[in-house]
Assembly symmetry: C2
Homo-oligomer: 312 residues x 2
């Protein structure tokens, strides 16, 4: 199938989007940017590094590629407005797989349009997504604003994607919810705006593991993030993870603290803030050499996932 | 070198940009969008399809990747405001090559910032660039607005990139200007805004060849683009190309009509418009079954380059 044929298959499946002024088909698309500033982020998923076709359908990959980008906008306290996609595609990828990818993107996007893209042949399958977003007049929530005394809070699930990955890697059936969490992570997108409105001082998307990403806030803000013990802060996640951890002889606390790709939001709020749902307090900001602690101590074990080195 | 090391090498080389509100380092960047709408386009360059490292330096690839995206914004009649870059990088690519890539992007970008990116390992080297732009209150110039009676005009060079590619392919030295035009095409970026101000009815970036891209305007507008004979419309390009064409026993007219990647702008203007420099009249819009003609006849030979199939 040639480029025109593939586009005719894919483009009708992509969501138009409520902020789309001009969709695909010209040299560029046009997206509403009512704030007068536009939030922009890009992420690439590469086969063998970030996904495997035998573990994830085209729709799963499309869903995940879209969601991790949407989460980056949410983590600024903004609302996603559009995606564009650059797809590099080996000859062995069936057109149906690409149609499925578009369907998965549409499922993750909801009212966010996929407004443009580029298709290239290549030897390696990769999906590079760029997301735009609107701040609606609010200041962005950066990583650098955490203050000593702030509450550390988290929205979303923890450790599920890592557990799902481990289950697929082991070929172990019977934990569909965890495998689904790996294939199609659901970021709490609306929580980003809610956090901004509630006065969050710092925020990020937890893509590389709680400890590794908490360290990014700590370093950017010049503070220490002291997290509660997982048994207190993430008791419900640990309960969900326990059967799979037992089946794999794995450590559920490591999944919670170091597992990547759940795309929860980690934020800090001034003390006594009424945390917007679904944020829960998971620690506090204290003074000291910038770093991360768990229950006051240096964390043991792996910090998290090196996104550059990848994990499929 | 790990991701942090690479970022420390690359990020300082990237231009900050006059429209950048927040640069790299957080979950997303923020770019000014004073128009209240943002223009967005994405393009990916894949090694072996769109470039070869033995033909192009890292800076050449970075320059070209940036320029072809900037040209897409210009072709809407807009001003580029920012780029983001998703880079997939095999282990055999030296950090210095990536630093060189960043330098080349900076050279193409001028005051346009490179505000964010993503790095992944992979087996295939690819550079996916997304560009943003601002319309400053003007309507976009689409492909679909050409009217019967309009003048067809072109800004920029023709056939130079195709000639440079053919020279590199043949290993023929002595035509540095043409090889440079392949390695570092210079799109007439300011001409896009000038065309919009002058009332251009349709416009696009000529990336896949004059005939192929003229056909896109013709089909989108439901008209015929009747181009003047190349000997009249592109006499200066033919003069520049003649020695290389002779050395390669190639056809300079085919380079002019079907060669891709020069990134000139093709536009249509109402009759009697005073064409803004450097646009020159190269044909007229006539009624008929949508298509392209050269001197009133169906073109012979190849239409142009299939961007999807690629050419390195």
């Amino acid at each position: 199938m040639d480029e025109d044929g593939l586009l005719a298959l894919i483009v009708p499946r992509l969501p138009r989007g409520r902020d789309t002024v001009l969709g695909p088909g010209d040299d560029a698309a046009i997206v509403a940017a009512p704030d007068g500033r536009v939030v922009v982020s890009t992420d690439v998923l590469v086969e063998g590094r970030h996904f495997r076709r035998r573990w994830s359908s085209g729709a799963d990959v499309g869903y995940r590629a879209a969601m991790q980008n949407l989460a980056d906008v949410a983590a600024m306290g903004a609302r996603p407005t559009a995606l564009v996609v650059a797809l590099t595609c080996p000859a062995d990828v069936a057109p149906e797989w690409l149609a499925d990818l578009a369907d998965g993107m549409a499922q993750a996007c909801g009212e966010v349009g996929v407004v443009g893209g580029d298709l290239s042949t290549g030897t390696e399958l990769s999906v590079a997504v760029t997301v735009l977003g609107d701040l609606a007049g609010r200041p962005p929530v950066l990583r650098s604003g955490a203050q000593v005394g702030d509450v550390v809070a988290h929205a979303g699930v923890r450790g599920r994607s890592a557990a799902g990955h481990a289950l697929l890697d082991a070929g172990l059936d019977g934990f569909d919810e965890l495998v689904a969490a790996y294939r199609r992570p659901v970021a709490p997108l609306g929580a980003g705006i809610a956090a901004s409105r509630a006065g969050a001082t710092a925020m990020l998307d937890v893509s590389d593991g709680l400890l590794r990403d908490a360290l990014r806030i700590a370093r950017a803000s010049g503070v220490v993030l002291d997290l509660d013990p997982p048994t207190a802060a993430f008791a419900d996640d640990l309960a969900v993870l326990a059967p799979a951890a037992e089946a794999l002889a794995a450590d559920a606390e490591t999944w919670v603290l170091a597992g990547g790709e759940d795309h929860g939001l980690l934020a800090t709020f001034p003390p006594h803030t009424e945390l917007p749902a679904p944020f829960r307090a998971v620690g506090r900001v204290v003074a000291g050499e910038p770093g991360v602690r768990v229950a006051g101590a240096a964390p043991r074990g792996p910090l998290g996932w090196d996104h550059f080195a990848g994990r499929d």
